[in-house]
């Protein structure tokens, strides 16, 4: 009987590829195939339609800088698993770069550095600003019918920040819009070390119930759960100083119309590709053995591993508490009913009245139990669930760093090989080949330098991010705990009132 009142907090379905414990965005394959033809290409493109051939050969860094701060996308090798956004073009279309395109990447070395440093500047600016933005997600509304139906949520932003056009505005968004936003942010920032708040989980079972039009308590609970999760997601996202400045975030909050994010569907071709790539990726991750020279990173990784385990334990504990609390509510309601029946069948007037009062008190207490169960759930259980997912994102960022290191090492190894090959070529009479070898070496040297810079940059970013994350974590927990305690105190006060009202009734029986 408790089942109908209970909504399993974390739903896992077969098609739900974002499972607990798994990296939401496992990094792209670290082991790169050797050979220029298959080198993953890094492109900076103004839009996401694929590399703009002209800009790639453009040696002028200025143009690219202008775009760099807005959109940096990583269109990587097919092994990439990251849920990249597609924009107007279809999703992950693996693009095998022609060899000649490799050259511009040397000039891009400057861009990357500049890109990163411009992010740094933004962060430093942000330090002075007071954080003044509040987002709420409300008014879930079912749009359409049958299996094509979806829930539209109203996203209201209240802010005094100048980066927004208005100070109080709302837009309508659906769940896939949120996923689309997240995918864009992830593709842009994860690989350079920023901890992106993970998007709320998909749930095919939950949504199907809503689509089919089942207006019962469990589907209402599902919608409320989702609404709350979407709100928390947006608030966490805008709390990040870099993300607050991101154009896609601004567009998400402000634009009345948003292009539909198709690749987020579980059963789309992109979705299937994701699932296939996951297996490959898991294997690849195991093969990276990094020489950690920085004790800070080693310690932090261990710390997050431990934290992950502890938070999961806490989460399970709280879920059990929520479950029992709901059970208590049901049992109290049942008891209230039987007390009422008892009161009705008593012929002694005062006793009958007291028993009826007892039934009423118990009904009120039942409501208190329900409220408390909601507090247990929405405050603690969801907080812990959010953090378990956040830690996964954190671990992902650490993994990206490992990959970046690997890439750097691979370039170095390749450079070494090329140098050896060149040395050998010195003794042969093949001037063309020798020249080619020298060119390749020059380009590889640049790549190695870039690799090192990337690695240092991502390490630096991660340090800052982790520090910010840890501070946020403490603040977050404290805020929630205070809210929870307030709910506990309030419940007790109510309880006292109920008992004080009942006591004279009980005493009046004579």
């Amino acid at each position: 009987m408790a089942d109908t009142a209970r909504d399993p907090p974390l739903e896992n379905t077969d098609f739900h590829e974002l499972e607990d414990g798994e990296d939401l965005f496992p990094e792209p394959s670290a082991t790169q195939e050797t050979g220029p033809a298959n080198l993953p290409a890094q492109y900076i493109s103004a839009n996401l339609n694929g590399p703009k051939q002209d800009s790639l050969f453009d040696d002028d860094p200025e143009d690219l800088f202008a775009e760099a701060t807005e959109e940096v996308s990583l269109l990587d090798s097919p092994e990439r698993e990251v849920l990249l956004s597609d924009g107007p073009s279809p999703a992950i279309t693996p693009i095998t770069p022609p060899t000649s395109v490799i050259n511009p990447r040397v000039t891009l070395a400057h861009d990357d550095m500049f890109t990163h440093s411009s992010f740094d500047e933004i962060e430093e600016e942000e330090g002075g600003d007071s954080f003044d933005i509040h987002i709420s997600v409300s008014d879930p509304e079912k749009v359409g019918d049958g299996m094509n139906a979806y829930m539209a949520y109203k996203v209201t932003t209240k802010t005094s920040l100048s980066s927004f056009k208005n100070s109080d505005f709302s837009v309508k968004r659906r769940f896939s819009d949120f996923l689309g936003l997240h995918s864009k942010l992830a593709s842009r920032y994860l690989h350079i070390g920023y901890i992106i708040p993970p998007a709320p989980e998909k749930s095919i079972v939950g949504m199907t119930k809503v689509k089919v039009g089942k207006e019962d308590q469990s589907s209402n609970e599902f919608v409320e759960k989702r609404r709350s999760a979407l709100e928390r997601y947006l608030m966490r996202t805008v709390k990040h100083p870099i993300l607050l400045k991101d154009n896609d975030v601004l567009q998400f909050l402000e634009s009345s119309e948003l292009p539909r994010a198709v690749s987020t569907q579980a059963l789309s071709s992109a979705g299937l590709l994701r699932m296939v790539n996951k297996a490959a990726d898991a294997v690849n991750k195991m093969t990276i053995k990094m020489n950690e020279s920085d004790a800070w990173f080693e310690e932090k990784q261990q710390h997050f591993e431990n934290l992950d385990v502890q938070l999961r334990k806490l989460h399970i504990s709280v879920e059990s508490l929520v479950c029992h609390r709901k059970e208590l509510s049901v049992n109290t309601a049942q008891f209230a009913k039987s007390a009422a029946m008892l009161g009705n069948s008593e012929d002694h007037t005062a006793l009958s009245r007291a028993l009826s009062q007892l039934a009423e008190v118990e009904e009120k207490i039942d409501q208190l139990h329900q409220d408390q169960a909601n507090a247990d759930f929405y405050l603690f259980s969801e907080l812990l669930g959010d953090y378990v997912r956040l830690i996964t994102a954190v671990k992902g960022v650490f993994d990206h760093r490992m990959k970046t290191w690997q890439k750097w090492q691979d370039s170095q190894m390749l450079l070494q090989k090329k140098r050896e090959a060149e040395a050998k070529l010195q003794f042969t009479n093949k001037p063309d080949k020798l020249q080619q070898a020298k060119d390749e070496i020059k380009e590889l040297e640049g790549k190695v330098q870039q690799g090192e810079r990337d690695f240092e940059q991502i390490s630096k970013t991660i340090r800052k991010e982790v520090s910010r994350f840890e501070k946020e974590r403490v603040k977050d927990f404290k805020t929630i705990i205070i809210k929870y305690l307030e709910s506990l105190v309030q419940t007790q006060q109510q309880l006292i009132k109920y008992w004080e009202a009942f006591l004279p009734e009980a005493k009046a029986i004579s």
């Binding site: 006793l351 506990l488 007790q492 006292i496």
Partner: protein, 369 residues
């Protein structure tokens, strides 16, 4: 109506209302209870040890007082069922509230049984009560002859008599009333037991959460780590507080309302038994009357005798029963009132205490940098 008897009825040498059942000693599978009763004269006490079998012996003797007219009209105080150690969950569930905890409630139920017996005008005069309460030696173990009080072995035929229409409106009303009340009371007691058991589960879950929080405490110089650890420790204190509160609430629930509902339920069952006995006697009387009317002249006199005997017995029973019912109704109301008041006061007290503790924790958290 009590029959006027010229004989001096033996009376108890102890007070009936303050008999206590205190300790429980466990010896393998047997539980032994310590019973303390206050002497009527002076300030002495009787301390005796009894097992459940001893209680059953007492009860059997009370049942089989055939020389007492109208004895079947007595509402016998209900004796709690025997406790089986290592019993299955189903058996424990049947014991209801009495099976909770370390037998405190069970002792209380035994205590109430003895108090009711010792205070009963008819029952307290039975010698076995005196022996039970005062003799240091365990009472005799002779098997008392089987009596009709044991409903469990009744045939289906007997059960049909339960619905037999009464000749007296007073009794018919009481029978109907009892039927409804005993059903609802039992249901209420069962459901309240579910509430209490769930409260206990919540207490356990809070304890687990509190323990899990301690695992999150990390040592180190890092200020963020220290802040988080401190938060976890403080939060675990909150959940310890919640656990204590829930345990308290569950205990108070069981001790007062739970016990009260359980007792009420069993007393209503005892009343039902009595009413059934009387109904059976009624059926017997009606049969005897019919037989007497239909009897051939030869047998008529004998049948008349039988009818007369049945009639006398029935009248005795009805007389006793009426008194018992009046007494029962008064006691029932008083008992439930006491239960409800006690329960409410206890819960109010607990709630106030807990509110204060929660508030303290809240202030502590708010004050934390």
């Amino acid at each position: 109506m009590m029959e006027e008897d010229k004989e001096v009825k033996p009376s108890l040498s102890v007070h009936g209302h303050n008999i206590k059942v205190t300790e429980v000693l466990r010896d393998g599978d047997t539980l032994t209870f310590l019973i303390i009763s206050q002497k009527l004269s002076g300030t002495g006490e009787y301390h005796v040890h009894r097992t459940h079998s001893d209680f059953e012996w007492l009860q059997q003797h009370l049942f089989s007082q055939e020389d007492v007219p109208g004895i079947q009209g007595v509402i016998f105080p209900p004796l709690p069922a025997k406790v089986q150690m290592n019993a299955s969950a189903k058996v424990m569930k049947q014991l209801g509230f009495l099976g909770l905890g370390e037998w405190q409630l069970y002792c209380k139920a035994l205590e109430t049984f003895l108090q009711q017996v010792a205070s009963h005008t008819i029952l307290s005069t039975n010698r076995t009560v005196e022996i039970f309460l005062t003799s240091t030696d365990p009472p005799g173990r002779q098997r008392v002859k089987k009596n009709i009080f044991n409903r469990l072995s009744q045939a289906v035929e007997e059960m049909r008599k339960e619905g037999h229409k009464d000749v007296d409106e007073f009794f018919q009303t009481e029978r109907d009333h009892n039927l409804a009340l005993s059903g609802y009371t039992r249901t209420a007691a069962e459901r309240f037991l579910d509430v209490v058991l769930t409260e206990q589960k919540i207490a356990v879950a809070c304890g687990h959460f509190s323990a899990a929080l301690h695992l999150c405490v990390e040592h180190g110089e890092d200020p963020d780590k220290q802040a988080f650890s401190k938060t976890c420790v403080k939060l675990s204190e909150v959940f310890d507080c919640m656990k204590k509160n829930m345990t308290n609430v569950a205990e108070k629930d069981a001790n007062s309302l739970g016990l009260g509902l359980d007792l009420r339920s069993r007393c209503l069952d005892a009343e039902k038994e009595m009413l059934f006995r009387r109904t059976c006697k009624l059926v017997e009387l009606e049969n005897a009357t019919r037989n007497a009317e239909k009897a051939k002249p030869l047998k008529k006199a004998a049948m008349e005798e039988v009818k007369k005997a049945a009639e006398t017995e029935f009248n005795h029973i009805s007389g006793v029963a009426k008194d018992e019912i009046v007494r029962f109704q008064g006691e029932r109301v008083k008992m439930l009132q006491q239960t409800l008041v006690q329960w409410c006061e206890q819960q109010l007290h607990t709630a106030k205490e807990t509110a204060e503790q929660f508030d303290q924790h809240l202030q502590a958290f708010r004050g934390m940098a």
